[in-house]
Subunit: 168 residues, 8 copies
Amino acid sequence: MKAIVSIIMGSTSDLKVMEKAAVFFNDLEIPFEINALSAHRTPEEVEVFAKNAENNGIKVIIAGAGMAAHLPGVIASMTTVPVIGVPINATLDGMDALLAIVQMPPGIPVATVGINGALNAGILAAQMIATGDTEIMEKVRNHKNTLKQKIVKANEELKAVTYKYKVN
Amino acid sequence: MKAIVSIIMGSTSDLKVMEKAAVFFNDLEIPFEINALSAHRTPEEVEVFAKNAENNGIKVIIAGAGMAAHLPGVIASMTTVPVIGVPINATLDGMDALLAIVQMPPGIPVATVGINGALNAGILAAQMIATGDTEIMEKVRNHKNTLKQKIVKANEELKAVTYKYKVN
Amino acid sequence: MKAIVSIIMGSTSDLKVMEKAAVFFNDLEIPFEINALSAHRTPEEVEVFAKNAENNGIKVIIAGAGMAAHLPGVIASMTTVPVIGVPINATLDGMDALLAIVQMPPGIPVATVGINGALNAGILAAQMIATGDTEIMEKVRNHKNTLKQKIVKANEELKAVTYKYKVN
Amino acid sequence: MKAIVSIIMGSTSDLKVMEKAAVFFNDLEIPFEINALSAHRTPEEVEVFAKNAENNGIKVIIAGAGMAAHLPGVIASMTTVPVIGVPINATLDGMDALLAIVQMPPGIPVATVGINGALNAGILAAQMIATGDTEIMEKVRNHKNTLKQKIVKANEELKAVTYKYKVN
Amino acid sequence: MKAIVSIIMGSTSDLKVMEKAAVFFNDLEIPFEINALSAHRTPEEVEVFAKNAENNGIKVIIAGAGMAAHLPGVIASMTTVPVIGVPINATLDGMDALLAIVQMPPGIPVATVGINGALNAGILAAQMIATGDTEIMEKVRNHKNTLKQKIVKANEELKAVTYKYKVN
Amino acid sequence: MKAIVSIIMGSTSDLKVMEKAAVFFNDLEIPFEINALSAHRTPEEVEVFAKNAENNGIKVIIAGAGMAAHLPGVIASMTTVPVIGVPINATLDGMDALLAIVQMPPGIPVATVGINGALNAGILAAQMIATGDTEIMEKVRNHKNTLKQKIVKANEELKAVTYKYKVN
Amino acid sequence: MKAIVSIIMGSTSDLKVMEKAAVFFNDLEIPFEINALSAHRTPEEVEVFAKNAENNGIKVIIAGAGMAAHLPGVIASMTTVPVIGVPINATLDGMDALLAIVQMPPGIPVATVGINGALNAGILAAQMIATGDTEIMEKVRNHKNTLKQKIVKANEELKAVTYKYKVN
Amino acid sequence: MKAIVSIIMGSTSDLKVMEKAAVFFNDLEIPFEINALSAHRTPEEVEVFAKNAENNGIKVIIAGAGMAAHLPGVIASMTTVPVIGVPINATLDGMDALLAIVQMPPGIPVATVGINGALNAGILAAQMIATGDTEIMEKVRNHKNTLKQKIVKANEELKAVTYKYKVN
């Protein structure tokens, strides 16, 4: 089994956010890897990782980081594999991380999801791979349908909320 | 020739921003289509578009919108094709559009690029398709190399800036 | 009894905010309904709801949502019944939801109240209906008077706060 | 002819924003009035206006103001007629006016539209009155359809934009 | 004993912030009054208060309010007695209240202090009165000296913090 | 003639904003002085000014500054004369100056007015002095009445704006 | 032993943030001093400190302050020793302190680090001194290497996180 | 002549901001170099530059960048030479660049100056070098004195501004 998605985080303290992507890939049976690499503290390791990602069979990279979050952009600068950035709320409600990830200059995009949005990063990665992989496309479609069932069921539960002037 | 990328904008006034993606696809010889569809003013047309995109051969959708920018998220809710959102600066320096696009709830990601970042949206779309298309991956790689040449050349021009205490 | 106001929320977790509107309608004996519908996870259900609201006798819709809050605007795009939007504080103190609701493009207004302001949404809905219903106008007037009594009474309690140099 | 909607602005310099509501009412043949009244400079006149609005036949009030925009809230505190607030961009991109209008305390709602959104204020006022007036509801519906035609037509114009790899 | 300063708050829940001003006046033996009056829920009472303040011997008014904080500005519009505004943090870290108080239009100033800054409001009120009252000026001067003593003493305590390479 | 109000600005480039206070004092025949002193570039001169202000007969100080605007707070730390701070919009729409002036720590208040609000600073200074000077109180009252006349007259001009469905 | 770095804080309550710099200097065996001095409450002491710092052998000053944080800028105005500013989160997530420190006018720089970033202030101070002190440069280099070891070790721990589809 | 300071910018379009540092070094006769290197477009060149800076005799690096400004942090991660970051206003008034530069994680500081503050970056660089170079310290001191003369002279010009009630 070879990983086709790589989850990178700037610090192991980000694992509690980033593991939502891991759980998603596990559920969809998409092989993945997880590593902690810091754009600022281990730049050489980041470079080695980024430059070899494509050859190692990685199709999408998910990088999460907080504060002045450079990790997704730095990786994106060294590979043509698409990079999904997850801004992590460490300070300022995550606004610093969001702006430091999404506002990339022309030429080097990072596909940014919402603050702490690691699950969405996982889904997006699967959608990207699905552009060339019908089996994963089918898995994405099935997962999307389960979301709908959940809220339909939640709506049912709202029927239990009763008020004299509430009409069911 | 069938389009594999679809560029959608909420209003034709967004064309001056979004055409950077069009020019990019044209340069890389990636067939694309452009349409103006509004999440708020033509919801039925948006629905028809989104639900048929995959069957029509569209692999990635780029949606640009300003203000309370719902277009990318609304399309993403109706398809499993990955959607790239371009926040357009119409008011508040584009912060309203950025937040209205990037902060999607769990389950429905939008791959968000920077404010007015249509060129990056184009590059990102090509990278996504390249996960399953080696020919486009090669084009993306070549484009990335030209970026490097440009700044190397720009650096040369800085040599012409002279000061007595500037060392060349 | 037929509902004349409809309360919609993007997720049942929003009930603790939105129920203030429900309690208000119950107190004023205005028949209402509550449903959880997600602009992103159940777009078809949202469409069915919005397009039939007027014919079903709904005079005002209250829609609450957080993050990239598209629900009020999406509903507003599919009906001419006035839509009141309640930004819910899920992230960023609710600023993302506020901007995603209030900054609607020309043509499709959403009557936005403050962050988590479901009670005000309820009062506003009653005021809207009261433009054509003198009985509800009378109820709104009575409710407004009770607010005044509360703060007058609160002021009385301040008299109990004593300092040597405080003059009563 | 008696006005059923009243447009109030804090300063005549706001007319260039607020006149979009006036033009809308004129087009829909809804009788309206316009006045400049300042919450801070003419508080007595504001009070006389607000307290008599309902008896004078006014069904909805639209109040536009900039900076620390108190006008909509102050009027709302003195009447049960619904008040629509238009934040006007005088400073800080209009964020001060938006927050000073939308963040009303529990009990006194202001139906807030987007920054400089006077057209939406006009449409919203018509929708409110239409809850009890089928003739105006019909006018609102017709106006909404024209919006759709405009963007459908705009989309046609996009066909004229040609690139070698653009598919029409 | 007649009050020369009046502390007004929009809601009795603001007392825990506003009482710092009360304690300050008590310590300096400056007679004061406290009332809860709401710009939105008791506009008539606010008007009666504001219009009679000067004749009742009030020399400075301190008004605290949160959210769309109109109280200080509304009072300032109805009196020439100087009004000090205290933005109270109820939502959005108090930024809504700060902007709704400080950004007053030309002609009607509110002397704004920091978010939750009721102590500073008290000191500022004393400074204002001291412009025409040498006895209060002396009290303000004495109070200011005590502040200095406190931090000089705090600095002494820092000497107790020891590290091998810390030089005392 | 001795100045009783002192206008200080951090740079002569701020004169175009601050002169509104000067014109106001001139109109009300209140003797004043203007100086450019920088908290950062001429700290000694600021100290000399602040420590002697009270003895020189200055009753209120107005200090305007932009960016990391320390001037009002630094002066306030060295005198018990009340200091009015005017945040000047040099960068970031003036938000940096506003926060650097208004968010003073407990003990040292600065009476802050709106961004570029030098006219309001002038009026506020007059109101402060008027707490102990009935002649100036009378001037403030007269000035306030002229404001009202202006907007009443402006409202008259709105009558000239005609639409078929506008009711005069 | 003479201190070559001086840590100043506006209040002893800031010690829990600022002590990270102290611990760093202690670890690197760089002699330092700590004092609490307030730009607003003890301006004379600040002046004495700043003007004598260079002669006392201080090579770098680290000043931490919250709210309208003037301390770093005020010190910088009175010395040519480089000043590092640490914005402390007391209110508004520290944004007020950040802007009040970093946005210094031309001529008087403050080397600003991140909100609550006292450790980085310590490292930066060591780097500054190291420009003329090879022994300290060596210590800085060693410290930097330890950072790398920590994250390499953390990455090892991630291997213990197991999922069926996670590839190690 | 060997450069002891290096000015780096992410794009030659930043030269109009960054040249203020160049002019400052030229005036103080401090040898410097200028290069355009992009963290994202030429990561290898950035690495070569950063890793050799110290050996090449560079004592301080000034790096300016806009948007998601990673350049200063990326350089700082690869050298122990102190790095001064200049946030450049390309979008969002420069707030994105400020946060992306100043909010560095623990371990890798960037000495951040104000938005577009290249002159202050130059002065700060000179101050840093002056910690080990008395000749440059003397130059810094002289430059600081000229600033004071300028504002003293500007204050003289204010005397020419005359009003009837202005006291000179």
